[in-house]
């Protein structure tokens, strides 16, 4: 089996190498990538979108449609995990095994008190970091996704210490469907608002920076909230 794998890898490697070495040199200022559509973003991005961080400008404004479906992809992952059968063949109830474990009183993996303490101590600081990334994302590196990742990290770290069930209880059942869909729903809402304001789906009023920023911030919050909840829930569901 191994020689075949090697052969396959070489077979793939060869054309790829041929492909990449024939690309224009990437560092050069006159490479197509620097003379293409990016020129406009650099030249007029701040003025058109109000975002000094052009990555955010591209992500939310110019190519917001991509980002919309990016958050849909992550929602898909959650729906996928939720749709899969749970448990083993011996336990076909499909009920989350975590609940069963909680009934027995222990789904907490024993951890050292030092770790437990450090995690609980760090959690608020991590949250602050996440919020900073979220709200300063348009001027500094950061943004909704990054914040979501950190939020999820807090959840997961706490989950390891306190047990996933207890962490999962932090989010009330009724809120769950709305929170986990927060990101796509925020996008849909902003898309509709943009449609009303500018006549274009997901359009941002280029002349009104306040509105732009408000809409951008709304999206970022939606992404952070929805993304964080989904990532955390993926972890919780995976546990079972």
């Amino acid at each position: 089996m191994k020689p075949w794998s090697l052969l396959l890898v070489l077979l793939v490697a060869l054309p790829l190498v041929v492909g990449v070495v024939n690309l224009p040199p990437h560092d050069a200022p006159d490479a197509p990538i620097h003379t293409g559509v990016g020129v406009r973003y650099l030249a007029r991005g701040v003025e058109e979108t109000g975002n000094k961080n052009l990555v955010t400008a591209v992500l939310l404004n110019y190519r917001g449609f991509d980002t919309f479906f990016e958050v849909v992809v992550i929602f898909t992952a959650l729906a996928a995990v939720l749709a899969l059968p749970r448990g083993s063949a011996a336990d076909p109830g499909g009920a989350p095994a975590a609940a069963a474990k909680a009934a027995n009183g222990s789904d907490i993996v024993p951890v050292s008190p030092v770790v437990s303490y450090v995690v609980r101590l760090m959690a608020p600081f991590m949250a602050m970091f996440a919020l900073a990334m979220l709200f300063r994302g348009h001027v500094t590196p950061g943004g909704g996704f990054q914040a979501a990742a950190v939020f999820a990290a807090i959840f997961i770290a706490l989950g390891l210490v306190l047990g996933p069930t207890r962490v999962a209880e932090l989010v009330p059942d009724d809120w769950r469907p709305w929170l986990q869909g927060a990101a796509p729903l925020a996008f849909a809402l902003i898309a509709a608002i943009g449609w009303r304001l500018t006549g274009a789906f997901l359009g941002f009023p280029t002349d009104d920076h306040t509105a732009q920023e408000a809409m951008g911030l709304f999206l970022e919050v939606g992404i952070a909230l929805g993304g964080g909840v989904i990532l955390a829930r993926l972890f919780v569901e995976m546990e079972t």
Partner: protein, 116 residues
Amino acid sequence: MLLFGLDLDYVLVVVLFCVGLYMLVSKSNLLKKLLGLNVMETAVFAFIVTSGMIEGGDPPILVAGTAAPYASPIPQAMVLTGIVVAVSVTAVALALIVQIHAHFGTIEVDELKELP
């Protein structure tokens, strides 16, 4: 960086891609296969980000104190999307692997194939 006339950064990216591919096809452990897939994804992301670099460029955040040239913002946005996609795929794959483990008690392909 050029080496023997080859764009070494790009070539290294392909090497990384192939390392991942080799893991994916030759390893028997499903988790290792998944890791291989992640290595491949990383390689492609590296490729995209590399392509957006510019000689002596700054990150594309236009605040006081930075000056042109800037790296292209599009590849970074693309990679951000790519990472989210990769995370999602990994999550689904992990869920499936967890299920396989719960059902068969193993995640070695060699052993799974021998099961009735």
